[in-house]
Symmetry: C2
Subunit: 142 residues, 2 copies
């Protein structure tokens, strides 16, 4: 995996009543859950995201259908298929991300460590690249 990203397998409670997957803040995932959002109804050919966060930590899990995620730093990149409700992609600070190839029935659930804060977003790749190069030089990665 590229820096500041990680795959996490969630435990599935599966019995005759169905499947249940619990995610506890600071336990199943290593940060607070202050905000949750879900993305759905994304049409064929749409690519979205195109930003990095300065400090936010997020867990992305496709709870229905599938979607691909590009994660990228100035030095490396990786494309990840999310098609399993028990497998989450953790994305830490200063990672550029794009989401694409949403299946028609995809629901992408995101658990975020902070409330929404526009100042934490970097939406211009050139700005991101410059800031990220300095960041990765100076900060010990997680």
């Amino acid at each position: 995996m590229i820096k500041n990203t990680e795959m996490v397998d969630f435990k599935v409670f599966h019995d005759k009543w169905g499947h249940l997957i619990p995610v506890e803040e600071n336990a199943t995932i290593p940060f607070d859950i202050k905000r949750v959002y879900y993305i759905f109804g994304v049409e064929d050919g749409i690519r979205r995201g195109f930003h990095s966060h300065r400090e936010l930590n997020q867990a992305l899990v496709c709870v229905h259908g599938e979607v691909k995620i590009l994660v990228k730093t100035p030095e490396e990149e990786e494309n990840i298929l999310l098609d399993n409700p028990a497998r989450a992609l953790l994305i830490g600070p200063m990672v550029w991300r794009e989401m694409y190839d949403f299946s028609k029935d995809a629901v992408l659930l995101v658990l975020a460590s902070e409330h929404y804060d526009e100042a934490d977003y970097i939406r211009d790749y050139a700005v991101y690249e410059k800031e990220a190069k300095t960041w990765f030089k100076n900060v010990v990665s997680r």
Copy 2:
């Protein structure tokens, strides 16, 4: 709505890139999000839940497909269809709940105010009924 339950409409951000629904703790919903869980792959004819919580607050939203929820106190009950990812059912303390009629493709997302604590569950209806009668007599409902 019966006591300690409420429907909440979430704001949908809908544009050419799809739909996004954010839920912020202590803002969109009136409590912390410490735990998230999702239920899926529930077969025809299965009914689940059959418990109350003593203190937990939860928001239930069906992010794909549909499901029905029975909420019940010793004095009243209501059956609620969840079939809209923008419409959540809030359930407060001391409400019995059962979930049924899951569609094959249903994903029920639950946002919970506390970490998992078995001591907060009441799983025997007779015990629930007795405790709830006292509770609703003594506590000012939300």
